[in-house]
Structure formats: structure tokens, C-alpha cells
């Protein structure tokens, strides 16, 4: 966290990474997960990160969230913006009910009880789990857990949202619905979103900008602005075209490594 | 005496397991073992195994379970062992020591009256010293209760702890046996009462020798030799005090890891009398006192003493025999 300064590098970025390097482990066992990654995210921008499995996407989000320290380089997050991270795993607290899990960030912020209740109910409705508030995480299906985690992250109410494959365990329909919800919230609250996904169509559906990371070491090798006007539909030809381009780039990248 | 008389009629060597405490009130036992007096008297036909204890209960448990054949022990556990087994488990075959008990108090206390409202320790609720203290206080017109109430608060606690509590000022005195009497005196205490002064002839039992009935029945000859050893040990202790004191110090050092301070032994020595008489009358009187102060029910001690062997040995040596009660 020491490397995360709260003053943004440029007044126009919500998140700014400058030459961020991350090495896991020591000596001969060391893994270079990120290599000199520099990235500026404008306030209110929706950025999608794509890349092969193990290329360092989660690592990058963890660094931005301040949960890990970079081995080199600098990370700056806009004033007062404690970024909310939705982990790749649900990471729910097994000893709490679904409701209580979602309530945790509200409690930690000191939201009054009545308001908390309301907000939890609202969030559970958003993720279509209104009936499951009293259950415990182990009584839920994989996708349901992921949605609880989404609700919990949204409860954080931060201006910067980091999401690590938030819809990976959801069926296409539920995912579509949640895309709409997320887009709505993003617009309403003018959020800045850094979004990791394996689904290039999802990226094209949601992003202002798509960034492609190379595999080990993770480097930004390509990025594109998605100029398709909103509202978008995931099965629209424009989205499909962008998705096809990203797929080609990704294929080239993964192919280069497999070779 | 006769060194090696191989026993006729005994099949194989007999093992005698003898217990004692590494303690000054067990001086005859300690000296007897240290100087080889028992081994000599028992002869080659008997293998002597000695066990040391640091408190009565374990010794009684060992006798009860058959892990021990004979032991030097205080009057209190003797009575317990006898009465809890309904007079079956043990017999007293000889005395060993008398005296060596005193009430030690803070120096500013000089009279009985000043004990009012004070805390006095005894080794254990209902044991000989505890009874003696209560009875004495009662005679002096001071009330005590089992729970520690009354005019004088009686605090039963281990002797080791008494030294600590007396040193730290938590108690005002203690009715204890040697070497704790000397130790408390050295810690600044004053002996207010020497218990010998309360008894006829200044004699009361502090240590006697008991054997398990089973062993006595099976090997009366060995018991006879053991008593011979006891008498010889007492003889030695009484005639060669300096060597005995040195022997005690060394022996205790070997068992506990630290030789007992010779000065302390010398200091305690005059308060003790090493006698073969188990002073049965004092045991009985003590029991009556215990009943009188409400600490116990009357128990019959009939059959506790079997002093035949002792008297035989004493008679053979031309010494005065003791009274078989």
C-alpha cells in the first residue's frame, strides 16, 4: 500500500499505473507476473482487461486495490477513491448469511441500521437473489455465490470498481441482465471500472476501451477504444466485430506463446 | 551380631520393600539405610528395596496396593491406614522418634492471649499437629472451627508453603514438626510452645514403623530382623549423633539433590528423641483429643500394635521392653 499514493499522477486519471512490475517469490523460484505496465484510466471510464490465463490480470487488480505491493513502479488512485475489488472467487464469509455478507461494507462505513436493511434488500434484488438473504454461502450454487459477491462489492459504493471475471459462473441470460444493471449503475454513479473478463463479447459489450495483456510476463501489448454507441446489445454486429478483432489479437498472442 | 544366617525353610530370597521419608524425623530410617544397618541385620537371605516418599498418602497407597511391605510413617497416616482398612492392612511393629514439634510464632507474640485473631498454620486438617493445636487452644479457652473461624484462624497448609507464608507475613505462626520448626525460627520466628511440654514424660510419637499385615503373616522372621535393624539404627543414632547428623545430611542430599543444611539438623536434633517405643498412649490420647475438638469419630485402635518382635529384640539385648497395648 505504501506505493499507492492518493494523489493522481495527472488530474485527469482515476487510476494511473506507471511502470508497474510485480515479482512473486524469490531467487530461482521468482515469477515475473507483471512487467512495466503503465496505464491511465480516466474518471468514468470503463476499461476491460483481457489476456490469457495466468497473464497477471488478477495481480494487476490486486495491486490497484492496494492489497499487494508492486515490486517496482507506481500506482496512483484518484483522491479518496478506495477501489472496491470483486475477487475472482466469491470470497464470501462462511459464518455470515447472504444478507449479512452484503451488509458488512455498509456496517464498516457506519450506515444506520434502517438504511442498511433497505440497501441490502435493494442490492439483493439487483442480483436476483431477494429470496436467498437468509441462506448461508454453502447453501448456494456457484453462480449465486458470485452474485452475492457482486452485491457485496456494489455495497461498497466506491467511485472506482475493480471486477475480476464477475460474471464467469453465470448463464448467458443472467449475465445479460446483469450487464444491463452494471451499465445502469456505472452511468448513474459515474463509476470508473476496471473489468477483467475472458469473454471478449462481454468486453465489447461493456467497455470504453479494451486492453490486451501478454502472457508471462504480463505486458500491455494492444489496446482499442470501443466506439460502438450505447445502449449496446451483446449480439449486435458491431459488438461482434470488435469481439472478432480482439479474438484475433488474443489468438495471435496465445499462439505466439504456444509456439 | 550375626552377619549372614541363611534362613532354613524359606524358598528363595525374600524382598523387603521399605519406605521412609528423607526427613529428619525419620532419622533412624535414614541412618539405618545410609549406614547399611538394615542390610546387615536382614542378612543375605533378604533383599532390601528402599522407597522414599515425601508425604504419607502415597506411602499408604503403596502399602494398600501391595507395592510396599513396611514403612516409617507418622501417627496420622498410621491411624488412617488402620481404620480405613477396618484394622486389617497394617501393624505398628516399632516406634522410631518422639518430639520435634513446636508452635512457632512471630517474635512479638509472647503469650497465648496474643494469639486471638491471628492466623496459625498446621500441616493438614485433622492431623496430629492440627489436633494438638486445637486442643491446646481449647484448653486455653480459645475457640476454633474446622472452617477456620473462631478466636484463632487455623490454616491447614503444606509445610513447604508454611515457610513461604510465614516469610511473607501471611500467617502469624505455625504448629509444625522439624525441620520446619527450626526453619521458621531461622526465619525470625519464636518457639512459643514445645509440644513435649504438653505430654507425660515429654514423649509423644512422631514417627513409627508399620508393616503390612500380609507381609507380617508371610515373613514374621523378616519383620523380626527389620525390627532388629530399627533397634540397631536407633542405637547408632543415639550413641553417635555427629556421624548420624552427617549421614542424614548426605543421604537427603542424594535423594533430594541438595544436602540438608548440617546446622539445621544440629539445631533440630535436641528437640527430637529417638526411641523404639511407639508411645501408643500418645496416639490414643491424640485420637481422644481429635474427638474432643470434633474433628473425627472415635475409632478403635485395638490390634494396631504388634510389639512382640520389638520386645523380643529388646529383651534379647537386655533393654527395657515396651508396653503392648
Amino acid at each position: 500500500m505504501t506505493a499507492t499514493t492518493t494523489a493522481p499522477v495527472s488530474a485527469t486519471s482515476a487510476v494511473a499505473l506507471t511502470g508497474v512490475t510485480k515479482v512473486y517469490g524469490r531467487g530461482t523460484n521468482a515469477v515475473l507476473a507483471l512487467d512495466r505496465v503503465s496505464l491511465d484510466v480516466r474518471p468514468g471510464e470503463f476499461v476491460c482487461l483481457v489476456g490469457a490465463s495466468g497473464c497477471g490480470k488478477s495481480t494487476l487488480l490486486n495491486l490497484v486495490a492496494g492489497l499487494d505491493r508492486p515490486s517496482g513502479g507506481d500506482i496512483a488512485v484518484a483522491d479518496g477513491a478506495h477501489p472496491g475489488l470483486m475477487f475472482q472467487e466469491p470470497a464470501l464469509f462462511p459464518w455470515l448469511t447472504v444478507e449479512a455478507n452484503v451488509e458488512v461494507p455498509l456496517k464498516l462505513r457506519g450506515t444506520p441500521r434502517a438504511r442498511r436493511r433497505e440497501r441490502v434488500a435493494e442490492l439483493l434484488r439487483t442480483v436476483h437473489l431477494a429470496d436467498f438473504g437468509r441462506k448461508r454461502p454453502h447453501e448456494l450454487s456457484g453462480g449465486m455465490r458470485q452474485r452475492v459477491a457482486l452485491a457485496r462489492t456494489l455495497a461498497l459504493d466506491t467511485p472506482v470498481l475493480l471486477m475480476d471475471e464477475p460474471f464467469g459462473a453465470l448463464d448467458a441470460m443472467t449475465r445479460d441482465i446483469l450487464h444491463d444493471e452494471l451499465e445502469r449503475i456505472w452511468t448513474e454513479r459515474n463509476l470508473t471500472v476496471l473489468f477483467v473478463t475472458h469473454n471478449v463479447r462481454e468486453a465489447a459489450r461493456l467497455a470504453d476501451r479494451i486492453i490486451l495483456l501478454s502472457s508471462r510476463p504480463g505486458r500491455i501489448i494492444w489496446s482499442t477504444d470501443v466506439a460502438v454507441p450505447r445502449p449496446r446489445r451483446i449480439d449486435s454486429p458491431e459488438v461482434a466485430a470488435i469481439a472478432a478483432e480482439v479474438t484475433d489479437r488474443l489468438r495471435a498472442e496465445v499462439g505466439r506463446h504456444a509456439a | 551380631a550375626c552377619g549372614d544366617d541363611s534362613e532354613a525353610g524359606t524358598s528363595g530370597p525374600v524382598t523387603l520393600r521399605l519406605g521412609y521419608f528423607p526427613n529428619i524425623t525419620h532419622a533412624p530410617a535414614v541412618v539405618g539405610v545410609e549406614k547399611g544397618i538394615f542390610a546387615e541385620k536382614l542378612g543375605s537371605g533378604v533383599r532390601l528395596e528402599t522407597k522414599t516418599f515425601n508425604a504419607g498418602p502415597a506411602a499408604v497407597e503403596a502399602i494398600f496396593s501391595g507395592a510396599l511391605d513396611a514403612t516409617y510413617i507418622g501417627p496420622n497416616p498410621t491411624v488412617n491406614a488402620f481404620s480405613k482398612s477396618r484394622g486389617e492392612a497394617v501393624r505398628v511393629v516399632s516406634g522410631a522418634a518422639s518430639g520435634g514439634v513446636a508452635l512457632v510464632v512471630k517474635p512479638e507474640i509472647t503469650s497465648v492471649e496474643q494469639l486471638r485473631g491471628k492466623k496459625i498454620a498446621t500441616p493438614q486438617l485433622g492431623n496430629t499437629q492440627d489436633v494438638a493445636l486445637r486442643y491446646w487452644l481449647k484448653e486455653k479457652g480459645l475457640r476454633t472451627t474446622k472452617e477456620g473461624g473462631g478466636d484463632v484462624t487455623i490454616v491447614p497448609q503444606e509445610n513447604a508453603q508454611t515457610v513461604e507464608t510465614f516469610g511473607s507475613g501471611a500467617i502469624d505462626g505455625a504448629w509444625v514438626p522439624e525441620p520446619f520448626v527450626s526453619r521458621l525460627v531461622n526465619a525470625g520466628g519464636r518457639a512459643l510452645v514445645d509440644e513435649r511440654d504438653l505430654w507425660p514424660d515429654r514423649k509423644f510419637v512422631i514417627t513409627n514403623l508399620i508393616v503390612s499385615t500380609r507381609f507380617l503373616k508371610a515373613h514374621p522372621d523378616v519383620v523380626q530382623k527389620l525390627v532388629e535393624g530399627q533397634v540397631a539404627a536407633n542405637e547408632y543414632v543415639n550413641t553417635r549423633p555427629d556421624e548420624s547428623q552427617q549421614a542424614i545430611s548426605t543421604h537427603i542430599g542424594r535423594i533430594t539433590g541438595k544436602p540438608l543444611d548440617l546446622k539445621l539438623i544440629k539445631q533440630a536434633w535436641p528437640t527430637l528423641e529417638f526411641t523404639n517405643d511407639p508411645i501408643a498412649s500418645s496416639l490414643k490420647t491424640g485420637l481422644e483429643h481429635a474427638v474432643a475438638v470434633g474433628l473425627t469419630q472415635p475409632v478403635s485402635l485395638d490390634g494396631l500394635y504388634d510389639l512382640r518382635y520389638l520386645n523380643e529384640v529388646l529383651a534379647a539385648q537386655g533393654k527395657t521392653t515396651v508396653v503392648q497395648p
Partner: protein, 291 residues
Amino acid sequence: MPRDTLTRTDAELSGLDALDIAGREKETSRAARIWAATWPKLAALALAVAIWQLVVFSGWKPPWSLPGPLVVGEELLRQAGSAQLWDGIAVTLRRAAVGYVFSVAVGLLVGLAVARSTVLRAAIGSMITALQTMPSIAWFPLAILLFELSEKAIFFVVVLGAAPSIANGVITGVDYVPPLLLRAGRNLGARGLTLYRYVIAPAALPAIVAGLKQGWAFSWRSLMAGELLVVGISQTSLGAQLTYARELADSPWLLSTMIVILVIGLVVDAVFGAADTAIRRRWGVLDQAGR
């Protein structure tokens, strides 16, 4: 090749029937559950008493050294009829409760402090186990020096016995909190104390309860020893009774006191067991061991 995957036989249950079944299963099993929890205890008890009686009948040891169940039972009844036993239990339980509560407070605080601070852990972390191994009697002189012959001396010994064990439970628990949950907590805004309150403490709860259980055993044993420090200050405690029974070579009394201690232990274990079951139900790890 189309296949009929939608066949249903008539014998099948409707969804609601299935819910009914679930309900009925529960009712039939309540009595069965109680019985299943009880008969093994009764069987174990019967077996233990039977073996004991057999050994006594065999005449292996004299009856004053090993009294039979009947004699001990009578003694126990006699004791139960007298005020002394109940007074003793009351005194000892009160002391145990006070001492334990104090130990829990100290143990939790020390445990949390050591688990949290690297410096403290390096400084006194290993001292905790070392203190745990120190026998109670070694503390007696110090207890007397500090507290003379007050009940505080007993508590001192009890706390020194139990607190390290509880602290160790806390440390183990904290050490094994899943890192993912810690990160989640920190990301949700928990810091320092709130991180402990919302994440670390509940995540470590199973290990803490285990430590509390061990701590109870330590505190009880230390209490039994410590009660000899201050005997007869007004009442006869269970620890003193145990010692007196032994000093008087009164085997039936000793055994009946042991039975009393075992029964208290069973009751306390039931409390911990209930806590543990509640936690396991919450965490969804119940009912897996049997399988």
C-alpha cells in the same frame, strides 16, 4: 438419433410430496436422534461399571484399596445428601468461573496482541508454551508473595495455567485465517480492530473455541492444585476434598469425588460441544465426519 429423455414413471413423487417427505423424515428422526446419542453413553457406562465390579469381585486388590461400585455409589449418595459436597462444588465452581473468565480475558488479549504484532510474537510468542508447561506448584511461592493467602492467589495460579493455553488457541486460529478472506475484509474497508472484529475473530473462532476448551481443562486442574493454597478459608472446596480423601486414605470418598469432577467435566464439555455444533452448522461443515 432422438432420445426420449422426458419419460416419467407414475410412481414418482411430486415436488410437494418431496417437501413432505423432508418434513416427515425430520419428525421420525428426533426421537431416534436422542436415542442414538444416548444409548452409546449408557452402554459405555454400563461396560465401565461392569468391568470395575468384575475386577473387584476377582479380589485382585483388597477392598479398602479398590472399593466396588456399590460402596462408591453409597458414598456418593451419602455425600449428595450432605451439605459439604454441595458447598464444595459451589465454592469451586465459583472460583472456576471467576478464574476462567479472567483467564479468557487475559488469554484473548495476549493471544490477539501476539498474533497481531510481529515484535511481540518474536519477544514472547514462544514464552507462551513455555509458561504453559510450568507446573502450578512452581507458582505457589510467587502467588503467596504477591497475594498472601487470599483467593487472589488461587486466581493467579489458575490464570497462569489457563491463559497461555487460550492465547495459543487464538494464535493458531489467527495464523490460519484464509488469506482470501483477509483480503476481502481489507478490501471491504476493515482495518485494524474492525478487521479483527469482522474477519479474523469469526474466521478463527473454531480454533479459539478449541483453545478455550483446553484452557478450561488447564484452569480446572490448576484450580484443584491451587485450592490447597488457601484451605479452610471458610469452606471446603472440591480440590481440598480430593486431597483430604487421599490423605485420609478414604478410597470411596476419593472415587466419589472423582466422579463428581468427571460429571462437572461432562457438563462443561456439553456446553463447549453445543458451541462447536452451532459453529459447524453455520459454517456448513456439520455431519460430514460420519460419512
